[in-house]
């Protein structure tokens, strides 16, 4: 008697077609989104999750293959992350177990927290373009940011003479810069003379994460900045790995984005 195969009989060509069609269908749909977030670290993922939960079409562009940025590990490559109160409430929302270390300070497993955050963003409906590097901004009248120009990440790693690969543009109503200290999107506007950033503040002030949250918001028409990109944009003091600030900043970026979109709708009406 012939042994029953565990997996169904599918040829290589079918696998390839499935990948191409799946990718092309989704990518074509997300060539135009409500919000494009550049960077899939904790603040970008949080912003994406919150916006997608409100029914918005959200695409997160990430230059790495993996999502989560530095959220997998805490200080000194140790995979315990810390959050200060009230950010433990977000861990509650994400259903991430945590321990109280001292009053107002909590620890959680980095892999658990990060994977739950990624899963929440996916569950909410966020789509991802990973291995995709931000190249430039799409500008409209009045220099309003209206999308991003992207390319494959590997293109940036190859010698110039064999990489004449033009980028492509994706459009959105709002772009969120969640690229960390690099603040790539904001810096691109600065390169064009549209905006002047502060540069990263050199002095250490241990409790500056409040500032990151308070300064999260629209930095230029169509462009919201969140996470550590806020620090670079405004030249705020440097600080250690404080993920609570990143999560709350992502949440605030989503709130600010919703306000802007509401304003845009009213303007059109």
């Amino acid at each position: 008697m012939e042994k029953k195969k565990i997996f169904s009989m599918v040829g290589e060509k079918d696998v390839t077609r499935a990948i191409i069609n799946g990718f092309a269908t989704q990518f074509s749909e997300y060539v135009e989104s409500d919000v494009i977030i550049v960077g899939a670290g904790p603040s970008g993922l949080m912003a994406g999750k919150e916006l997608a939960e409100k029914g918005l079409k959200v695409l997160i562009v990430e230059r790495n293959n993996y999502l989560g940025g530095g959220f997998w590990i805490g200080g000194y490559l140790m995979n315990k992350i810390t959050v200060r109160s009230p950010a433990e409430r977000i861990l509650d929302e994400l259903n991430v177990p945590y321990q109280k270390y001292t009053e107002g300070l909590y620890t959680a497993d980095g892999p658990h927290a990060c994977s739950k955050l990624i899963a929440s963003a996916c569950d909410a409906g966020v789509k991802f373009a990973n291995m995709t590097v931000f190249d430039d901004v799409v500008l409209r009248e009045g220099n309003r940011v209206a999308g991003v120009v992207v390319n494959w990440t590997p293109v940036t790693a190859l010698p110039r003479e064999i990489t004449c690969v033009d980028p492509i543009a994706l459009e959105s109503k709002i772009v969120i810069d969640a690229t960390g200290h690099d603040a790539f999107v904001v810096k691109k506007l600065e390169e064009r003379g549209i905006l002047k950033t502060g540069g990263m503040g050199g002095m250490w002030v241990d409790l500056s994460e409040d500032l990151i949250v308070e300064h999260t918001g629209e930095v230029h028409p169509g462009l919201v900045v969140c996470g550590m990109a806020v620090s670079t944009t405004y030249g705020l003091p440097r600080m250690g790995p404080t993920f609570g600030g990143m999560l709350l900043s992502g949440k605030k970026a989503a709130e600010e984005t919703l306000k802007i979109l509401k304003g845009l709708l009213q303007k059109r009406a």
């Binding site: 200080g75 000194y76 270390y101 300070l105 500056s208 500032l211 308070e214 030249g235 003091p237």
Partner: protein, 262 residues
């Protein structure tokens, strides 16, 4: 003798302005008045103008001394602070901020010494071509004393920095708290009751600066010592030694100033 007039803003750790004014009068015999929140009488348009001017004094680049070009969010942040909302961490050029205060709140410099006690972090550009955090800015019009500067500007005990170097800049909060526990009361923290006495010493320095153009002393046991380490802050500005807590030289100068101006 000039009158010491104190204003406050922001989240001030145990300052208790009224009590500090009473103790300055009782301890030193200096006329002193606490006026409360500095921005309370500003009109809306004045608040907006002031917010813009304060935003320009932000230190954005540690190695460059220049007026900042503020972004809208920064001006909005300053407006919120002018309206009394707490929030700190932004670093301001102390001398520029003092000048802004003088422009908006001029006073008779021959009759008064004005001091703002604030939660803002202050820095000055030094001869090594970079900004350094300061606890206070004396002279140049308004004197400014920073409660958060008291916590962040003077260096903590050396062990703290050895640990930071060992663990790298990514030393996490758990490690910071453990090191802080080991260091005990060797540095000032938020809500530290010793801040009250430190503020009195800094107000005395403002008084001396106004009288002699110099507010500091090189004697570590004098209240006018300019500390660079937290342990020096505690030794010089908290612990009171002898009459007035001043060295012999400054005690004599203090009485001369009082008698001359009376």
């Amino acid at each position: 003798m000039k009158e010491l007039i104190i204003y406050e803003e922001g989240k001030i750790y145990p300052v208790e302005g009224e009590r500090i004014a009473v103790e300055i009068e009782e301890d030193f015999g200096i006329r002193c008045k606490f006026m409360g929140f500095i921005f309370k009488d500003l009109k809306e348009n004045e608040k907006r103008n002031l917010a813009l001017e304060i935003a320009k004094t932000r230190v954005k680049e540690i190695y460059k001394e220049k007026e900042a070009v503020p972004l809208p969010m920064e001006i909005a942040y300053e407006e919120k602070k002018i309206n009394g909302e707490a929030g700190y961490g932004v670093i301001y050029d102390g001398f520029m901020l003092s000048q802004v205060l003088l422009n908006f709140f001029p006073f008779k410099r021959g009759e008064e010494i004005r001091v703002l006690i604030t939660d803002r972090l202050l820095a000055t550009f030094d001869t090594d071509m970079r900004y350094h955090l300061r606890t206070c800015i004396l002279g140049g019009g308004w004197n400014i004393v920073s409660t958060n500067g008291l916590i962040h500007a003077p260096a903590r005990p050396k062990e703290f920095y050895f640990a930071r170097r060992l663990l790298g800049e990514k030393m996490d909060e758990v490690a910071i708290r453990e090191i802080e526990e080991v260091l005990g009361d060797r540095f000032l923290r938020e809500n530290d009751p010793r801040i009250f006495e430190v503020l009195k010493s800094l107000l005395l320095q403002a008084f001396f600066y106004s009288g002699f153009g110099e507010g500091f002393c090189s004697d570590k046991d004098c209240r006018l010592f300019n500390p660079h380490w937290q342990e020096e802050v505690i030794n010089s500005l908290v612990k009171k030694r002898g009459e007035l807590g001043l060295c012999e030289k400054h005690k004599e100068m203090f009485y001369r100033l009082k008698n001359d101006k009376n």
